[in-house]
Subunit: 415 residues, 2 copies
């Protein structure tokens, strides 16, 4: 017996991450940078679009030439040319009463300031067009620099790049991008009862579920998982495996062996690693209480609960935000919270935050989803297969009534 | 002029996907199957857990031996052994008044039916323990098969595998998995004005943004993107490029050239491909009206709007659900809808659904997020960088008042 846990709150746990800083960076081709995290601010080297463009097929005009025209009294304009796509509109300069044909995306003719849609025109002959509707200056035009001015900051450091962000980079001609390195995460399962998933368990043995699950979680979060596999639950084996794993990783996840008990060497191992500091041993959440966090330098070591369902909650609450921090993300850490309605009464104990696996049922009228708790002990895995996310019950709440507003943290793969 | 579009509704558009069926399947190792789509139902070949397990460190007992005990009147039990991890608990059979030490995850001793937590025990000597709290039968035990019974269906065909699903497969010893093939998507940008992102645009030219953006979208959706690049806006070039792309892809995305205009050959090309059938030409949404859908056999061809912002809306509304269908997903197609509050009045035109780019602001009290429209013409890209999703305004609505309940489709990378 090593005594009781010293529980800290989940907020205090997250605050410990301030001891860690982002990993170093690498420069990669534009085509590979989607979903990576930007390591420097990007300012526009040039304006976008580079010239004023039509947003319609039709006629580039001087807007004032169309003022007051109508179906019954069309404006008559003289067609002085056509701006072929990919050629400069500035080769044509409109004088009063003149127009030129233009296509969507084409560069406006010099002295033109608006475009009349082809639908509101009628060709009288190849040199003359009737315009039925007036246009205001700037109408159906995206002006040069309207999307991005030269020198404007377009994407901030710490942003996870989405498809549209990558599009902006392409538009600005930025074809290599500096991003944070993906965190390397070593995964170890401890337990003399464990066998690999491809082996047939003998009496008292069970297949290792945590390595596979945690590796999939790490990859889902943008990290690189290194599955070390199963190690026996004795101090020397664990110490050596941890030390070796740590030398090649930014983070080590140890699962199993983190409750208070005779055979639990995780804490001892983490205490004995060179220059290690145990930052937390126990957190006031359920499930997930026996979580351990240690560090050596800028490397983190987690002791996760042995039950996979509990380990997964701890992963999403703590490991994911720290991976985001390692990865350089500045905003919006962790799972996405959405409002929901509690589907049935859920009791909870004072003194710990509770994370309840729930299924979301979305009413057809678009009102907030109803969160239905999925029953089953915390050690069971299949309730997680049904779950859409985790409903949060505060530390000081005795539970939620049916119909009460609640916060649900969505599992990532739902969207 | 080829005349006006024949607009169909977004619902009618989605119904067209019934003409397409899932791609073929492949069998891959368990370690690679996260986020892939399951191509067959998985039933449990054996029960999980394989034996009744303790969920606590403590003492395996016959529950009735603890009935009525308390702090002041503890039950005295005789310790007859220890169930070491990874050994069979059935080697020890408890008689009345006997107990054996057990650890979390250990197999229960024969004839024991509950576990007393170590916290509620006190060792008198190495053979005798005092128990302070009674336990009910089954307490602190996960019984054999409680997670999964043998023969039970655990994962259904058409499911996108999440980390917990992969964990279940590991637990059941299923180390190779049959999934649907990832859709191959060829991406072509048409337009004589386009140059590649790594080139300096000349007068009237602009960099191709759509290829990069669409490729990132396809990869985000689990497809494999094949960037064909820029092709000139003439019938022969487009026809040849489309035909060649189609021979090596499940889907072709053509962007640019799908509005009604002299230089728009997309429709003609799609009509002239061998055995092609144009299923839709125009959809009553904004942005995205000039969308074209065609098919040859089970292959799909999309003509997307030239503006990247419009193309992205069409991608999420239509291309993504069809990719999911190709990929074999049975549930929950497309973007995740969440309830939100309209942040300011948004007018809309009757007769078309409107998809408004919005930023979500989450109130600290956990109430639904407020959706603030991001202004900027549909041709602009940077408003998409700020957007969290698309607010939907129905076809028959003239707009939404400030404070009105609204549905927002979340962009995937937010969570």
């Amino acid at each position: 017996m090593k005594g009781f846990f010293q529980l800290i709150s989940s907020v205090e746990f997250i605050e410990l991450f301030e001891r860690f800083h982002p990993l170093n960076t690498e420069t990669i081709p534009l085509a590979d940078c989607a979903s990576r995290i930007l390591a420097e601010d990007v300012t526009a080297p040039e304006q976008l679009p580079p010239f004023s463009r039509s947003t319609m097929d039709g006629f580039a005009v001087r807007a004032r030439d169309t003022f007051g025209c109508s179906e019954s009294e069309p404006a008559l304009l003289n067609i002085v040319g056509e701006i072929a796509m990919g050629t400069s509109g500035r080769d044509i300069a409109l004088r009063p009463g003149q127009t030129s044909r233009i296509w969507t995306g084409g560069e406006l003719a010099a002295k033109s300031d608006a475009v009349v849609m082809v639908e509101y025109s009628h060709l009288l002959d190849e040199h003359t067009v009737e315009i039925f509707r007036p246009v205001a200056p700037g109408e159906n035009v995206i002006r040069a620099g309207e999307d991005t001015e030269q020198g404007q900051m377009v994407l901030a450091r710490g942003r996870r790049l989405r498809p549209q962000d990558v599009g902006v980079l392409a538009g600005l001609g930025i074809t290599s991008v500096t991003v944070y390195r993906r965190p390397l995460v070593a995964i170890l399962s401890t337990g003399d009862e464990l066998v690999s998933p491809d082996q047939q368990p003998g009496p008292g043995q069970i297949r290792d579920i945590n390595s596979t699950t945690l590796a999939a979680l790490v990859e889902e979060s943008g990290g690189i998982a290194n599955r070390i596999g199963i190690i026996n639950d004795d101090f020397d084996t664990m110490f050596t495996a941890c030390r070796d794993a740590l030398s090649k990783a930014d983070m080590v996840l140890l699962s199993g062996g983190s409750s208070v008990g005779q055979r639990d060497f995780t804490l001892q191992v983490l205490e004995h690693l060179q220059n290690s500091e145990v930052l937390a041993h126990g957190v006031a959440i359920r499930p997930g209480k026996p979580t351990i966090l240690a560090r050596t330098g800028n490397k983190a070591l987690f002791g996760l609960p042995g039950h996979v369902a509990s380990a997964m909650v701890v992963y999403y609450l703590f490991v994911l935000p720290l991976l985001h921090r390692f990865g350089g993300m500045t905003a919006d850490q962790g799972l996405l919270p959405i409002p929901a309605i509690t589907g049935e009464q859920i009791p909870s104990a004072i003194g710990r935050e509770e994370y309840v696996r729930v299924e979301l049922v979305r009413p057809a009228d678009g009102s907030p989803p109803v969160a239905l708790p999925i029953y089953g002990r915390s050690g069971l895995l299949t309730p997680l297969v049904k779950a859409d996310g985790l409903l949060v019950i505060d530390r000081d709440s005795e539970g939620l009534d049916k119909g009460a507003a609640a916060k649900v943290l969505l599992f990532p793969s739902l969207s």
